[in-house]
Symmetry: D2
Subunit: 323 residues, 4 copies
């Protein structure tokens, strides 16, 4: 339920205003050098206060690795880690416990579990993603040793106009993975892009995923999107264009893997919002917490982390394709 990956498997835990967020990254190969300072810097990219539109809460996300790495190298054992929750002002959330915020998960969690931790959104908070970034940062370092690099960026037209009157913005993140060898991905249900889609769609607020030419493909003729094969100077075979986004038949073809992820606007407005109490009576909600107006800059390392976990997992699985 709270696990992603088959051989490289990340399981996470944590409520926004509980003691700590954390996780276990299992299946990391042994003997991989991990630089913990570099890992901390990767996680810091996700922090608040990094850009104009983001929340002022100082989360101080100090990563504490509890196992699985010794003398700078992975042991092959599960990597347990925690990030303590600090500076959480739970008193802000007293009223939220009694009503349902629109476009949040309050109502659906009650429907599913019958109860919820309302403090800071509990586990439905995007704070949950800090554990993904810790694990992702480790996977990123392992991939670098294989010559595989991942880079996400905010689409040029996203998050540019500052929202007025406490309103919020959505946007699109583009992510490119370079250096992936041909042959990764499982060709039926586990297509590489299907796994990437699931990983990206699991990030809070994501409403759409496409790879290669994506939705534009739907309006094109077959002859317009044909990636013709070419022989490279080194004798290898590649394609002259990349409409396919680096994946054909669910398996990587050695070209750059390119994908785009659509985020809905932040659901918490700094405006009065009409809604209902749990019992169905109306109420106007005056949000008082600290929230981002546009989450996309903070989401970049999250997107890169999810990509890294999927790619590394498939890199390992591919080793089992031959005896």
């Amino acid at each position: 339920m709270n696990t992603i990956g088959k051989i490289l498997a990340l399981t996470t835990f944590g409520e926004s205003h509980g003691s700590a967020m954390g996780g276990i990254l299992d299946g990391m190969p042994a003997g991989v050098a991990v630089d913990l300072d570099e890992l901390q810097r990767f996680v810091d990219r996700r922090r608040t206060g990094q850009s104009a539109g983001s929340s002022t809460r100082d989360e101080r996300d100090r990563v504490e690795v509890l196992s699985g790495i010794w003398q700078g190298k992975t042991l092959g054992t599960p990597i347990g880690f925690v990030v303590r929750n600090t500076d959480a002002r739970s008193t802000d959330y007293d009223e939220i416990a009694r009503c349902y915020r629109p476009n949040h998960a309050d109502f659906t969690w009650d429907a599913k579990y019958g109860l919820r931790d309302p403090r800071g959104g509990g586990r439905a908070s995007a704070r949950e993603t800090v554990a993904r970034v810790v694990a992702g940062g480790i996977a990123v370092q392992a991939l670098q040793r294989l010559g595989i690099t991942i880079s996400a960026s905010v689409d040029a037209q996203s998050c540019v106009t500052p929202p007025a009157d406490g309103d919020t913005l959505g946007g699109i993140i583009e992510c490119t993975v370079k250096g992936v060898p041909a042959g990764l991905g499982e060709p039926v249900f586990g297509k590489l892009h299907a796994q990437l889609a699931a990983a990206m769609m699991s990030i809070p607020s994501v409403h759409g995923f496409e790879y290669g030419d994506g939705f534009d493909m739907a309006g094109k003729r077959g002859s317009e999107v044909m990636d013709l094969f070419v022989k490279r100077p080194d004798g290898s075979i590649g394609t002259s264009t990349n409409h396919s986004g680096g994946i054909q038949g669910g398996i990587s073809n050695g070209e750059d893997i390119v994908m785009r992820i659509a985020f809905k606007p932040v659901p918490t407005l700094m405006q009065p919002v009409p809604t209902l109490y749990r019992e169905g009576n109306p109420v106007v909600l005056h949000p008082r917490g600290r929230h981002d107006a546009c989450v996309l800059p903070r989401a970049l390392p999250i997107v890169e982390s999810m990509a890294a976990i999927v790619i590394l997992d498939n890199y390992l699985i591919r080793k089992t394709n031959v005896l």
Copy 2:
């Protein structure tokens, strides 16, 4: 690898021109009435020859259920089934074995496995999906007994212009699931829309997935896409709009689940196509097989099947949320 689902798990097998396609649907609850004639009609919707742009191969996909259903009811045991491959003209594919068709999986399968069955595309053929439709048709019947219905349709602007000169078309399929109770889906990695995305992206030729307002969300303000809560006449709580597409925080909220799936144009053109032999030498390929110009009408039951499998699986998992 060839399995999808956690409690309700479908595993499939089969190469396009091998003996048979088939699968095992495990985890179906016991005592569910299954009408095998209705199932055959559901599978027939996927057959060739159903619309103007589709292939003339008569696949005669007769479903043979081998286990798990007795006296018209499920036993709780795995449902094994096969669909024989008939009328396959493997001689058409001799040259294909030696070269890589653009936008197909020939190159990537070779890269992954070192060998492949070239006859009819082997397991990379969309014929693979017949097993999904058999299992999906069973899941659809079970969901109907729960008041949950699924309906997919081709977007109005897709596949309308007939392609000329052997070219092909892509398009968009919309799928709506009605009657899903609130509370389905796992809120972190197993978000309901993440599972649906993975399922849909695993269908051959799919390049994009969105739910609710999807990619349009990216250009909107938070105030524009707010689904305000309303109290229904029966006392239940719903939303007045459905920008969220029936899922909030990864969990169904009781509204219609709405999603859109983008298909690339069929990769096999009825035109000469320049490409390379496995060794890198150039060749012009003159396709002689039988192929669809637009697959969307045939893909409708496939989309419905994947939705049914995901929804029913999550319906079952939800039963474990309370002691």
Copy 3:
């Protein structure tokens, strides 16, 4: 539920008197030569009529491989297969549908599923194991190519005295795996012997499992069971004794893997047996079917199959231990 294995995963289906038994062996590496005649001979070892105490039903278990093997080699795709059920005399089982046979699964299946297929015991029949042997036979051939061999034998004191008056016997099977390299197995929950135990205990009628000195270990001093290390002529490190049964800390150490599996006596006596109808009224059951008095000779290829599947799966997983 009906699946075993992580990378190499076998899923089976089939009721004793349904159309067919079968399964899907997924995750087999590509390019492995499989001799189908040799496979049929392996499966034939499990047939009835092979020894004095066994049933006279001629099962004619002809293996039909439907996918995944082409031109004598595995494709890396799932291997689907069926074995048709023939010569089943379902009329023998009319009364059994209404009552619970002692030491059978009739009562517990009703308790779990609310209904069952009573013909020949349905899926609770040991006929289910034919699918294991098909998959196991393929795994055995792959292991042979790696120099790993598996051999099971009936313990010298088992099944020797012929049972009188329609009574039945249990016994012990010993199984040895030679040539397993050091390093297979997952050291915590997935200990190699834990996986082997689960696999063997899943065979019908098995009531106990031990490896190495097993239960005898419980009465020994530490100094008595110490496997001291020795340097082999080729420079490698081995042990001078093998109390540990080839596994230490859950991981293979390169010595022979040795285990013993205890089978209960066949539960179907050829004697009148008092029992209850489903409603609780008493009845004396006069069995008329065809059953073995001692199943151990037929169980040998089943034990070897389960061992082969576990060992090969762990062989593949081990490849992922390094980057």
Copy 4:
């Protein structure tokens, strides 16, 4: 790899002399009352210093629950927890890093991973089990609310004679689970006893598992071990004897589940032991750490924990057997 369970899934981490042991218990139903003081007392049963033959290291295993429980109840979210490692004297283990202790996992871990954390045995230490007991203690409390109780005890003939000269003892633990409703367990690969066997065999030092009459079954006639059905005063159906140990056909039948687990003697002797350096040169090892002479009393809560996790997982899975 480091996960056990399907719906209720425990993943653990931690090296003996690393920062902490810990785990994530995922899939616990929501709204279950958990008494953390009672949980601490359960974990304390596993501590050292509890009986004459046990180690003098004061482990002070204080359980810190980090998520998933709020206001005394489970949230349905993953329960993250840690137990800090204190009082570890890593200097004791300098020589161990360079050689292979007999009957330990030093050699096999090197063979598998190419490196290991030698301090206190790293993750191969039985200290790993503290995480199992934390999770198990929570499962035990949930089962109690369902009327299911688990009790393990040391076999009367085990661990009674105090070992002389630094030698060690093995023994047998018996475990009984009362109150399990009929219908739990998956009848083919996931037989309830197969799952219990895997869980118990995953405990360090375990070499054998049996349930019901176990290995004794092998020497009996079918007529001797027949559990005849009887109608209880309340109208329900039970059995007059329990040779089957509460499980028939892999599914619980409502009788007590009874099993026996064989432990090998503690492998660390307080005697000089001849062995080899990693390079193959001989050395005599003089152990200086702190170790138990007989682990069985400390293993009781571990056995109960593994039983609790398996039983509760299957209790939840059974809910999915009907629509």
